[in-house]
Amino acid sequence: MMEQPVLEVKNLTVRYGRTCEYCRNGSRLVKNTCPHCKTVWACNDINVTLYEGEILGIVGESGSGKSTLMKSLYFDFPVTEGKGYLRDFEDGRTDIFGQSLQQKKYIKNHVMGMVYQNPMLGLRMDYSSAGNIAEKLIAAGRRNYAGMNERVGELLDAVEILQSRKKEPPKNFSGGMQQRVQISKALANNPAILLLDEVTTGLDLSVQAKVLELIRRIRQEFHISIMLVSHDLAVIRMLSDRTIVMLDGKIIEQGLTDQILDDPQQPYTQQLVHSLL
């Protein structure tokens, strides 16, 4: 029997600009920008499939469209064209990008969790950490204070943040702790999919190790599917089952992670792998 994907994205395109006859066929772009009308094709005809319990790595140079893809999936950026299907939203029969704002909010609060590279995007720095997590629980319809308090405790335990610090705002925390609060917030409503955008960038090695171990544990314990954007190929090698390579808004190569890193087939992927320290 065919395995049903948790997420299926078909022909996703995100562009900024009005487009012209030159860039509509895609072949006349310089990098990801049309030289005539200056339209930027941030994501260009992306097809992605994510399966249950899988970690899908996304690599590519800055500006290749990795974060745009993640943010479009989380409805932070409007999608110009394309369709997306979630197993946990109407059994994967309905396109998620065509939904009303209310339905999109439902998906963000119940089916997906997002951890941004910059914690300021994912957290309210002046609210308490518990308040940040409770916000997500309230958005999913929970109102019982004791129940929410208990859930916040569980989530902070899972990311190894002392419960004695739950009333402190994230602005008092280190970068690694802020990322872990973001992860616990993203996990609050047991989403099927976790989107992680450069979560280990800028963290020192020991904190990075904690976050990596946490990601592995989350996948194992919750059977959650994860899309992981990272510039660090060692992180991708350690965690990802499959990897996608993006360049100029397009997917240029995808496959098993070790095959992509040890036997890259595309010139850019070879260049990327050979740039490893």
Binding site: E54, A209, E213, D258, P267, Q270, Q271
Partner: protein, 236 residues
């Protein structure tokens, strides 16, 4: 005899775009591995021995040829063209790969590393702990090392941990990529003893070794790979 692996006309070339040149690693490799068999591969450095194993494990995409694996999960399957999801499943459950190098997540102890291997194969946590401890004992890794991060281990200890991690899922096919390269004689003998035991228990194996003495009594057939082509030799 049931065939577990049939390799037909396998060849691998790497194309380096930066230098605009092609590197031929191995060509026209053909051999068959029976269930419970052990094939040894010898050859000089750079002859293409590891390439063959990596093409079987799909770390490398073979340029031409077939790697037909008789799997429990999907029946006969060409590993060169099989769907990536099937390869991931087979790696978790049926295929093992052991090299002299240990790749491990940071902050993971030896015991956790082996437990993770069992969890990936689908065992419950309780079963995984039992199996992991059994394997660590089987491969004679001292109990004092179980809860230590393995980056401080010696070469022999790392190798035995690698073997325990690969064997905890009881793979049907075990690929050994120069596992004894950096070991002293006593540790080599211990590893040989353990491999003999695995062979008796029915694990099919393909191994790359430099040491002909080590292969004596272990391999059913030895293939000599020279300049990328294969020649079959006698059993040692």
């Amino acid at each position: 005899m049931e065939k577990i692996l049939e390799i037909q006309g396998l060849s691998k070339q790497f194309y380096l775009y930066e230098q605009d040149r092609e590197i031929k690693s191995c060509s026209d490799i053909t051999f068959t591995l029976n269930k419970g068999g052990f094939i040894g591969i010898v050859g000089t450095s750079g002859a293409g021995k590891s390439t063959v194993l990596r093409c079987i494990y799909r770390t490398y995409l073979a340029t031409t040829g077939k790697v037909v694996y008789n799997s429990l999960s999907y029946g006969k399957l060409d590993l060169v063209r099989a769907d990536e999801r099937k390869i991931i499943h087979l790696r978790k459950v049926e295929l093992g790969y052991v090299s002299q190098f240990l790749t491990i997540l940071p902050r993971t102890t030896a015991r956790e590393h082996v437990i993770n291997g069992a969890l990936d194969a689908g065992f419950s946590y309780k079963e995984s702990v039992e199996k992991a401890e059994e394997m660590l004992r089987y491969f004679k890794l001292s109990e004092t090392l179980w809860d230590i991060y393995p980056n401080t281990f010696s070469g022999g200890e790392k190798l035995r941990l690698n073997l325990a991690h690969a064997m905890v899922k009881a793979p049907r096919l075990l690929l050994l990529d120069e596992p004894t390269a950096s070991l002293d004689n006593d540790t080599k003998l211990l590893v040989k003893e353990l491999l003999m035991k695995l062979k008796k228990e029915g694990t099919s194996m393909i191994g790359i070794f430099h040491d002909l003495e080590f292969m004596e009594g272990l391999c059913d057939h030895v293939y000599n790979i020279s300049k990328g082509s294969f020649q079959k030799g006698e059993a040692l």
